[in-house]
Assembly symmetry: C2
Homo-oligomer: 394 residues x 2
């Protein structure tokens, strides 16, 4: 190599896409604290504290609550590979990209997979799930609480009860949910849940919080054959996080520091206050967008506050608006994935990115860019409508 | 949770164990730079630069050279799961913990595994490997270049040639090797190599550099069945790192920054200078230890410069010395694993930890602690012997 690239000097962005979202400055600072050994007594204490805080955030007493050493997708696959044995009948509910990914993972785990589907942006009813449970008689069911590709917020309590009544285990995707909307692992009796750090936890990507019920742990310990991945074998990882501290792999020390601080932030604010903040900023954004003729692509009544999937107005060029937001305003929003590609924007208001300043500057920037592309609306209406929501809610 | 734990304030350690090793201050600073989106044009540029620098460090032109989003063990499993298909005959060379782990992973991949073994601390001869190749006729062979559990440096060039002559693919563990001793992926014609960030690259754990030959990529693309892990499926990950930038998972952005800076540091110093520094500090440590009666547990002539596995002197209490090093001097060294547990210390001189100040302070501290435990030696001899090596080498 003749010339080395320069050191990393990233542009400062406002991250309002589907993740990573804005990182809290305290989390970034904590990330760079001095690395200690992964068997250092200090690190073991940090792991314990992290587990306690994760249990609070997941609202669970599950002993096996920890962070997988990979991104959210690694946590997803850890739940799937550990709970499913070859030949197990599995029911996967698919209404977006991440349900589809569960199917792929479950098949690689050797599961006999049946799917039920809803159009993109819609959610499942308990009736549909019950019908499928009776038909398929699955050992494991998997569903997404907050579909990052569509912004759909899946009602889960009654479905979870139906799955339990049918004698199956329930895997719940809470990647975009955790910290943004209620996740009630114990109340809903979820058997395995996974999340990521880079959504509503205001932390860089790199760890995957997971929680397994005692029932799930029991099933894993009684498996007939080994989990198909050594790296994601929860029975081995549990001995590393648990009291025995049996060496498995070397945990990402500094990412653990960062997640520790991120969980401290959520619990300092309080979960309910955190959810209320996400709702308030969503309502302001929604009012602002409505005022300039931008609607949601998600089934009415089921839009996630932290991930706003909205229809690109007719005549507006998707990529040029997103590029201008990034280049001229430093704001990242997300493109549509899959069925929503080219017709939907995904606006994240997750974690530290869920701030009224972010809502206002995005609406102001959108007004400028849409006006340039000839979109017809009352100039100033978006910001005024958002401000009205904040004023009423003060 | 009634009371939140305090923010992370780690003790400052000198990391001279088997990893993580001392992080270079420039790497820690880079880790905390502002997070951008994983599809941001700036991040795509950083990924490209990182790949180019990794190719330099691996000494390869392999297009598929990148970092897996997990720790070294994730890279290890990525090579195994992708190269091995169910029913493939696999030969694994086992002379320590990490060879043993390759067996476990290869079995989970569905391989029909045969092992050859050497006692802990010893290395394989090309004759032994050739005999096994003729007997087993494997499709894939796996071996460790730098065995972190024993400090053994495996001569590889002739073995690699024999494996290729036998028509098999070779997986090489370079976790503790990369950046500390020569790794010549192209010259040796290695098909798949994996490493970790937290050994000789002076970077926190969290990413796994990997490189696959075109031949290996061809085998992966022609697989009869899908890789058993979606997260570690290299054909999917390659599309994310490659020109198409197809979304797979969300990469650990800040860890990528850190590895980028770590690779810059290695290439700034120059690989040969970096290897020479590792050798020089090893020789000084070895001379110092010999002067106070501490020998190596590794086969003579095959001790790694960066990982020194040494015999604990008779009458010395393993744990109390390691604990005192940590508590009184802030120095971490490693315990023995497996067959070496309780009888061996593992002293890492890896990456930024390979400094003459580290060698001298460790020897001085050991002199103090061994004297307290009644070990007989000429006081001052260890430091004097190390200094003599540095003086001669100036």
């Amino acid at each position: 190599m003749n010339v080395l690239p320069p050191t990393v000097t990233p542009p400062v962005r406002t991250l309002m896409g589907p993740g990573p979202s804005d990182i809290h400055p305290r989390v970034l600072a904590t990330l760079a604290r001095p690395t200690v050994g992964h068997m250092d007594p200090y690190y073991l204490q940090i792991m314990d504290e992290l587990q306690s805080m994760l249990r609070e955030v997941f609202r669970t007493k599950n002993r096996l609550t920890m962070a997988i050493s990979g991104t959210g997708s690694a946590g997803q696959e850890a739940t799937v590979l550990n709970l499913i044995e070859p030949g197990d009948r599995v029911l996967v509910c698919v209404n977006g990209v991440f349900g589809g990914r569960l199917v792929d993972m479950a098949e690689r785990a050797g599961g006999e997979v049946t799917t039920i589907e809803r159009p993109w942006g819609e959610v499942f009813t308990v009736v549909e799930v019950k019908e499928a449970l009776a038909r398929v008689k699955p050992k494991v069911v998997a569903i997404v609480l907050a579909e990052t590709s569509t912004g759909a917020w899946q009602p889960i309590e009654k479905i979870a009860a139906a799955v339990r009544d049918a004698g199956a285990m329930l895997i719940l995707d809470t990647v975009t949910a955790l910290g943004g909307i209620p996740v009630e692992i114990d109340k809903w009796q979820i058997d395995a849940a996974y999340s990521g750090t880079q959504k509503c936890l205001s932390c860089p990507p790199g760890l995957a919080p997971v929680s397994f019920s005692d029932r799930a742990v029991d099933k894993i310990l009684k498996r007939r054959e080994k989990v198909r991945s050594w790296y994601l074998d929860v029975s081995l990882i549990a001995n590393y996080w648990g009291g025995d501290r049996v060496y498995h792999h070397t945990a990402p020390i500094n990412m653990t520091y960062a997640l520790h601080e991120a969980l401290r932030l959520v619990l300092e604010e309080g979960l309910e206050a955190c959810f209320a903040r996400h709702r308030r900023n969503h309502e302001a954004l929604k009012a602002g967008l409505a005022a300039i003729g931008i609607d949601y692509a998600t089934q009415p009544g089921h839009a996630l506050p932290q991930l706003n999937a909205v229809r690109i107005p007719p005549g507006i060029d998707d990529a040029s608006v997103r590029n201008a937001l990034l280049e001229r305003f430093g704001i990242e929003i997300g493109a549509g994935l899959g069925a929503f590609n080219g017709t939907v924007w995904r606006i994240g208001l997750m974690g530290y990115a869920s701030r009224h300043t972010n809502v206002l500057v995005l609406l102001a920037a959108l007004e400028q860019l849409l006006a340039e592309q000839g979109h017809q609306f009352e100039h100033g209406a978006a910001v005024a409508a958002a401000n009205a929501v904040y004023r009423d809610r003060k």
